[in-house]
Amino acid sequence: MDPAAPADSCETSHDVHKSLETIFKNNREWALDKARADPVFFEKLADGQAPNYLYIGCSDSRVPANEIMGLEAGEVFVHRNIANLVPNLDLNVMSVINYAVRHLHVKHIIVCGHYNCGGVKAALTPADLGILNPWLRNIRDVYRLHEKELDQIADESARYNRLIELNVEESCRNVIKTAAFQQSYLEHGYPMVHGLVFDLRDGLLKDLKFDFEGTLEDVKKIYSLS
C-alpha cells in the first residue's frame, strides 16, 4: 500500500470490460495448463484441502502469497488484511487462525510483512483517515511499545523499515496469545510461528528468526489459556 501514490484511473469503460474478459481468459488457460500437466490436479483439490501453512499477510497487490513462496493451489491457507495485523478483537483473523489450527492442523503459521508498506507508513502520518484510523491504531501501538528503540534510529527510512519488522513480530506474538495456538502447540508440538518480511525490490523473503518458543515462555505468565 502506498497512500502517497494512489492509482489514477484513466481507463475507459471499454478497457474496464476488456480487462475482466482477460481475467476469465487467463483463468481458463491456467485451468487447462494445470489439467494438462496433471490430469488429477483438480480432482485431488476437490477431495479436500490439507495445507501445511497458514499465511497471514498484507492485502498489498505486490505480495501474492502463493507466488512469493512458490506454492501451488492447496498448499497454503491465506488471510490478508491491511498491514498484516493480528488484533485481539478482530473476529476475522481470529476465526482464520482458529480454523487453520484446530480444523486444518497447519504445521506452520507465517506472518509476512513487507517493506514499503503503505499501511505502516499511513500509521506514521499525522492524518485523519476515517474508518482506517482504528485499524491503523494497532501499528501506532507497536511504535509505542518500542518507542525507545525506534526513536534512536536517526534515518527515517531505516526507522520505518524497523517498525515494519516489529509489527510482524507483534503479530506473531498475538498469534501465540491465542488459545488455538497454545493448545495445539503444547499437545502436538506444532504449529511453528515464523515472522517474514518481503522485499519488493528483489522479491526475496527475509526470515526475522522470530523466537516463538522463547516468546511463548515469556507471555505464558499472563496469557496462558491452556
Binding site: 494445470k34 498489498d60 505486490r62 506454492l71
Partner: protein
C-alpha cells in the same frame, strides 16, 4: 460445477495419499514417518466423532481422525520434518525471485515504486483458491482480502479498511466477491455443531440460511450447499454496495462490482448475474449514500 463431487470419495483420498507417499519415495507402511498422526487423533470429541462440520472440505481432515485409515499419515504428507518444509518454502522464494527477475526484468524495480492494482479480490482463505494464480495475473495486479467463507460483515473493520483503502485510495476499477464450491465454512453453516469463536463469524451465513430455509430444504444436501455458496456471494455483494465509498465510486467513476464462483473441481471461474433492478438501485442509494 459438478455437485456430485461434493461427496467424499475415500478411494480418491487414498489415491492422493499414495501420490504423497510416492513423491516422498516412501511406502505407506514406512515406519520412519513422523508420528504426527498419533497426536491428531486426540481431538475433542465433537470434532473426531464425524467428518462434519466442515465436511465438504474435510476429507483429509476426516482421514486424520481415523486411526485405522492409511490416510491418517496424510497429516504430514512427506518425510520432511516440519522445519525443513518451512525452509523449502524459503528456498522456493529464492528460485521464484530469480526466475521472475529473469522473465520480467522491470517487475521488481516497478513494484518498489508503488502499486496500482485494478482489482480488489474479496475471497475465501481456502488454500485451493489462490487468487493471483488462478487469475493468471502477476504481483501488483490484485489487492486481496481473504477470510473464512468470504463473508462480508457490515461492521467488520478488517474488510472495511481493505475496501475503503482499495476503492478510495487505490481507486481500483473492479471489486470481486468470490465464493467457491466445497466451502468448509458453508458446510459448517449448513450443520448445527458448536464451533466456539467461529460461530459469531459464521452468523451471516446462518442468517442467509434462515431467510432461504424453504428453498434450501427443497434441495439435496449437495445442491443446498452450492446454493448457499451463491447466496452468500450475493449477500456479500449487497454489503459491499452498501458502503459509502463503493456507492460513490460506482456513481462517479463507474466502479464495477462482480460476484464470482470458483469451481475447485475444475479450476474455472463463473460470473453470477448480479444486475440490480432500477428499484433496488434507487432504494440502496436513498438508504446508504453518504457524502461529506
Amino acid at each position: 460445477m459438478n455437485v456430485a463431487r461434493l461427496a467424499v470419495r475415500p478411494s480418491a483420498v487414498a489415491r492422493t495419499v499414495e501420490a504423497a507417499y510416492s513423491r516422498a519415495g516412501l511406502q505407506p507402511s514406512d515406519s520412519s514417518l513422523p508420528s504426527v498422526s498419533s497426536h491428531v487423533h486426540r481431538l475433542p470429541a465433537h470434532l473426531s466423532s464425524r467428518c462434519s462440520p466442515f465436511s465438504t472440505s474435510a476429507p483429509a481432515f476426516c482421514a486424520k481422525t481415523d486411526p485405522s485409515s492409511p490416510a491418517s499419515a496424510n497429516a504430514d504428507q512427506s518425510n520432511t520434518p516440519n522445519s525443513d518444509r518451512y525452509s523449502s518454502a524459503l528456498r522456493q522464494n529464492k528460485e521464484w525471485a530469480a526466475q521472475t527477475a529473469r522473465e520480467h526484468p522491470d517487475l521488481f524495480p516497478t513494484l518498489a515504486t508503488g502499486q496500482q492494482p485494478q482489482i480488489l479480490w474479496l475471497g475465501c482463505s481456502d488454500s485451493r483458491c489462490p487468487e493471483t494464480t488462478l487469475l493468471g495475473l502477476k504481483p501488483g495486479d490484485v489487492f486481496v482480502h481473504r477470510n473464512i467463507a468470504n463473508i462480508m460483515h457490515p461492521g467488520d473493520l478488517s474488510s472495511g479498511a481493505v475496501i475503503e483503502y482499495a476503492v478510495q485510495h487505490l481507486r481500483v476499477n473492479h471489486v470481486v466477491v468470490c465464493g467457491h464450491t466445497f466451502c468448509g465454512g458453508v458446510a459448517a453453516a449448513m450443520g448445527n455443531k458448536q464451533l466456539g469463536i467461529l460461530d459469531p463469524w459464521l452468523l451471516p451465513l446462518r442468517l442467509v440460511r434462515e431467510r432461504n430455509l424453504a428453498l434450501l430444504q427443497s434441495l439435496s444436501e449437495e445442491e443446498a450447499a452450492l446454493k448457499l455458496v451463491e447466496l452468500n456471494v450475493r449477500e456479500g455483494l449487497d454489503v459491499v454496495k452498501q458502503k459509502g465509498a463503493v456507492l460513490n465510486a460506482i456513481q462517479e467513476r463507474g466502479l464495477q462490482v462482480h460476484g464470482l464462483i470458483y469451481d475447485v473441481a475444475s479450476g474455472v471461474l463463473r460470473e453470477l448475474d448480479t444486475q440490480d433492478s432500477e428499484e433496488t438501485i434507487k432504494s440502496r442509494l436513498t438508504a446508504f449514500a453518504v457524502r461529506d
